[in-house]
Symmetry: C2
Subunit: 220 residues, 2 copies
DNA sequence: GGTGCTGAGTGAACAGCGTTCACAAAATGA
DNA sequence: TCATTTTGTGAACGCTGTTCACTCAGCACC
């Protein structure tokens, strides 16, 4: 909680660092990873390109920080919904739809966060990944939710918490990626008459949760 | 079916073009989009970098051809399963799991195919996309399958074919992306004891189809 | 057979990229 | 005030995609 460091040098440093991140964030949100270059950031904050390397070890390191911060904000929003007092299966559905909607506020960020390919061997990652903390937190929210559904009998008892949680994550991640990638999803060019994007997110969330529910489910 | 063009010049041209694509495919599969450069391809086939531009308009054009070919191969495999005589809900599940498994045979290809972000405005795409033909075919397979499930009463009658199909696509796409991105999915570093990757794919496929089924579903 | 012509292939160059490095300037601690 | 550390810079290296003037081989036609 004691974020305020007092020496002028330290305050100056985090201010410049923040300016770099903020400029990068701005460019990245609009033009994506392709439009973001070290020289571009340097122009934006009126510094020389080399200066940025006094604050970040590499471009990847800088971008990773952007991605993780954004993903953290998504999790924050989902957490807010998860803790809200609301009847259960509805709340679960809202968690899913909130995740997707939050992710789509900055499609470039979200897609970039998942765009690397991890190597099969246990070597150091090539594609940039999430910190274990973010992965773990995303995962914790979901397992907790599944656990709740199991406890109150809403979900099928034979389900394994962790496994079901990963399945939910995969499915909602897929929708976020689809909409981010195809600007016209779910309408799609070949099939113009379709559900609105907002309605589709809710529909998808319903399907995801429904796949876990125990009894024959009925909706209002 | 009359692919054989007779003039030596024409045959030579498609042979060189094929060599370029084959070299690119090889490098791309192992090192991904990052490791693939025009100069690298040129080295691989003992041509000058400029020569490649006699066969492809740009690097993006070349890579798009790789991606589409790969996605086409995925669809081919899924189509084979979809047409096979097999009891229905099982066949539907197999379509989903086949899609995921095929996609994961070349993770770099699959991830790259979905890595661009389409602009919100109806301008020309910035991220590389699928040809409408591939999108349409992927979509056609799924809608047909959903239609079959609706006809034989296996799926809930209130479902809309196209909407349900898109939802399936999103969910299975999500799993493919997850496994491609996190090398340890679904185990994951923080939670090592978990289902095997193969079993998880089947489990996920089961959940996806189950979310569409009408009655209380029971499995063997 | 000689004569254009079309297309394949090339080396050199351009602009941009991430990154490094020796160096100047400024801020800091004594 | 002096020494030291930190901050910022310009120039360079090696890489990238792409273009362009150029050469040369193969083909059609008279």
């Amino acid at each position: 909680m004691e974020d305020e460091l007092h020496t002028p040098a330290e305050r100056r440093r985090i201010r410049v660092r923040g300016a770099i991140l903020e400029a990068a964030e701005r460019v990245f949100a609009v033009e994506g990873e392709a439009g973001l270059s070290i020289r571009r950031i340097a122009d934006e904050i009126d510094y020389s390109p080399a200066a940025i390397y006094k604050y970040f070890g590499s471009k990847d390191e800088l971008i990773d920080e952007l991605k993780e911060a954004f993903f953290g904000r998504i999790l924050e929003s989902v957490n807010l919904i998860a803790d809200r007092a609301e009847p259960f299966p509805t709340r679960a559905r809202r968690c899913v739809s909130t995740y997707v909607r939050k992710a789509l506020e900055k499609p470039h960020h979200y897609v970039a966060a998942f765009s690397g390919v991890a190597p099969p061997a246990p070597t150091v990652p090539e594609g940039c990944e999430f910190s274990d903390s973010n992965r773990a937190q995303a995962f914790a929210i979901l397992t907790e939710m599944v656990g709740e559904g199991l406890d109150n009998g809403c979900f099928r008892p034979e389900l394994v918490r962790d496994t079901a949680a990963k399945s939910i994550w995969a499915s909602m991640h897929g929708l976020a990626m689809m909409i981010a990638h195809f600007n016209d999803f779910p309408s799609m060019a070949t099939m113009p008459s379709a559900m609105s994007q907002d309605d589709f997110i809710d529909f998808h969330a319903d399907l995801i949760i429904r796949s876990l529910e125990s009894g024959p489910t009925k909706r209002d």
